[in-house]
Amino acid sequence: MNRTKRFSLFMILIMLVLTLTSCGYKDIDKRAFVVTIGVDKAENENKDYKVMLKIAIPPTEAKGAKQEFIVSEQESNSITDAVRMIKSKVDKELDFSHAKAIIYGEDVVNEDIKGVLDWFIRRRDIQKIAWVGIGKPNAEEILKMERKVELLPSNSLFLSFGKTGTESVYIVSEYLFDFRRRLTERGIDPILPVIEAKDQFFQIKNVAVLNTDKLKMTLSAEETKFLNIMLGRVENADIRVKAEANDEKDAYFLSGNAITVKYKVLTNQKDAPIIKVDLHVDGVIEEAMKRISEKHLEKPTKLAEKQLEKKVKQLLEKLQEEQLDPVGFGLKYRATHLNEKDWDEWKEIYAIAEFQVHADISIEGTGLLK
């Protein structure tokens, strides 16, 4: 091929590229970044949901900027329709790539969760590592809240759930993908943290346990802590020890670290099935109401073990009564049994199973005081 020919062929190819007209990319200043998505029950009786999108307004100057945002809302029977309607309200392209939290109102979760989950999983632009939670009394309060400590809109939510900010034993963080896994998997039940709106801030200290379609039970703060320990998601937790088993007065607080949990299901033809839970805690005394001698730690250790065993057992039995299994005993049973009907068997076993909780605490020290 000579030069002119090669050149003309090259030009033809370049011209072919010009026929591929498409401008898919919209500039960053033409985009509205959604940071949090909220779903509440609609106030209008004919509609199902109220969908709210918290859209961050980027500050023009970085120095001394205050967080600014708008919450755009729409009532509709489906999330798709609501989002389409919101699109007609904002002048920019909605961008969900920064939507890192999804808040469901309490009323929505009380009824049916599967209906409001499908859209979030199906859409490619919703990240599956978004945090999911329940807004109390509703999602709107949480979305519209202006926290003074926040520099960026919704940032305090992300910090609370992620491990970069606060680390609290009362916060059970749930990713969207893990929430769906628990919802679909037989043998493990979904959990969601409850975000409670206070005056100027919100608090996350309870966890809600769901069955396959709606909210069944909200645990107290202390129960939440023990569930978090059972899930193996926290390694450090404080354990409150009372002077006597039925006494109201506290004896001392133990700052536990390196907490490990093991559990197994023992089934024997003769006896009732047993779920055995072993807890191991290494701890340091954090606060003592009565004097504790460094040399005589056996008694306070025994006391702590007994009370921990009792509390964990109470929590597990409370969950069992409602046939809820957020820890995943059922999944473990399925994973360790080869037969086909292990799930049906498990449902019968779990109804009658007995819990045996064994705690093993070792007090490593008494802190800076003897």
Partner: protein, 362 residues
């Protein structure tokens, strides 16, 4: 040149994600996919070793040259058929990753436009570069991508939310008899060696068989990762509903202080380059097989050049027509049928190779 053989093997192991291997195995996770993995490793490595030992008897020749010893009619049918198989292998990856690109990177562009861009790019690549330089390109792409893939794997295996019991639950179904589809899918991971039919031409030395001991191990790890990581993330019961299991799984990973937080962005970009080179390798084999068979009779350089353009042009046209007619699910069905059909063809290819090596020895 020995290391290029490993690259060809690794390429197939990586690209299986886009050739629907995880989709097929995950669909049958309770019906024999677990047993299909060791069976696949066994069949795959046996074929691999038989083929490599046979081709090792020769030096610096490709299959088209070896086929000179066979009757003309056989050669004609065989070449046409096998280059078709290789072409479809490339076409399926191209269609599948085109689909993914549109879904995840640029939803506004039309499918047909996108695939035209990809097809033109690959055709221009193929018409220019010979076998050895394609292997160099492959090396560069793998060297750039493998560390990042290692990072994704590390993130996946060390994830706090990876559910071991979900994975074990699927593993307890190991007694089920696997289906043909599952076995065919799991053997695909090993079939990178078939590309030697052309690339062996540029191999200057023999392949050291002893050094291939690691192939079954890597293949096994690869298959286990392919199906068990998605299960651990999305649950044994929930994984069946996902259309792109591995992309959804990449979206569950997070590098909080990385340049990009969502691993899925990096994962897709990685896979665009890996699929591109895989399509180029498959089409190169198809192209060269056809070329060398037709070129033997032709004397004129100009006609030869023109023939090259006709072959590559028809490749691009075929993909274009397929894209127009196939929807997301059709591509999957097409891909699965191709995988199922590929296994007996591969066995036939290996038998032929053994036969040829015996014949030449006599």
């Amino acid at each position: 040149m020995n290391r290029y053989f490993y690259y060809l093997l690794i390429l197939n192991m990586l690209v299986n994600v886009f050739l629907y291997v995880p989709n097929i195995l995950l669909r049958e996770r309770f019906e024999g996919a677990v047993l299909a993995i060791p069976i696949g490793v066994l069949i795959g490595t046996t074929l691999l070793f038989l083929f490599t030992i046979s081709i090792n008897k020769f030096k610096g020749v490709g299959l088209p040259e070896l086929l000179e010893a066979t009757p003309k009619w056989f050669r004609f049918i065989f070449v046409l058929f096998f280059s078709g198989m290789w072409f479809i292998a490339g076409a399926i990856s191209l269609l599948a990753f085109n689909n993914v690109t549109i879904r995840f990177i640029n939803p506004e562009i039309s499918d047909v436009n996108m695939i035209t861009v990809f097809a033109i790019f690959i055709v221009l690549l193929l018409v220019r570069i010979p076998s050895d330089r394609l292997l160099y390109t492959l090396e560069i792409i793998l060297v750039l991508n493998l560390p990042l893939i290692g990072l994704v794997m590390y993130q996946a295996y060390s994830h706090d939310y990876l559910s071991i019991y979900s994975m074990l639950e699927v593993a307890t179904h190991y007694k089920e008899i696997p289906s043909w589809s599952a076995i065919a899918a799991s053997t695909f991971v090993f079939s990178g060696y078939t590309n030697l039919v052309i690339f062996y031409r540029v191999f200057k030395e023999k392949i050291r068989i002893r050094r291939l001991w690691f192939v079954p191990i890597i293949g096994f790890v690869n298959l286990v990762t392919t199906i068990f990581i998605p299960i651990g993330m999305w649950g044994a019961d929930g994984i069946g509903d996902l259309t792109y299991p591995w992309i959804a799984t990449a979206d569950t990973l997070q590098i909080e202080f990385g340049p990009v937080e969502r691993v899925v962005t990096m994962f897709i970009l990685l896979y665009v380059s890996i699929s591109m080179i895989s399509v180029a390798v498959h089409w190169h084999v198809a192209f060269e097989t056809l070329k060398s068979t037709f070129h033997i009779k032709l004397k004129s350089e100009r006609i030869k050049k023109r023939l090259d353009w006709i072959i590559l042009g028809s490749f691009a046209l075929c993909v274009y027509i397929l894209e127009l007619n196939l929807k997301q699910n059709d591509i999957f069905v097409f891909g699965e049928n191709w995988l199922n059909f590929r296994l007996p063809c591969e066995v036939f290819l290996v038998l032929l190779m053994i036969g040829l090596s015996k014949k030449v020895k006599q």
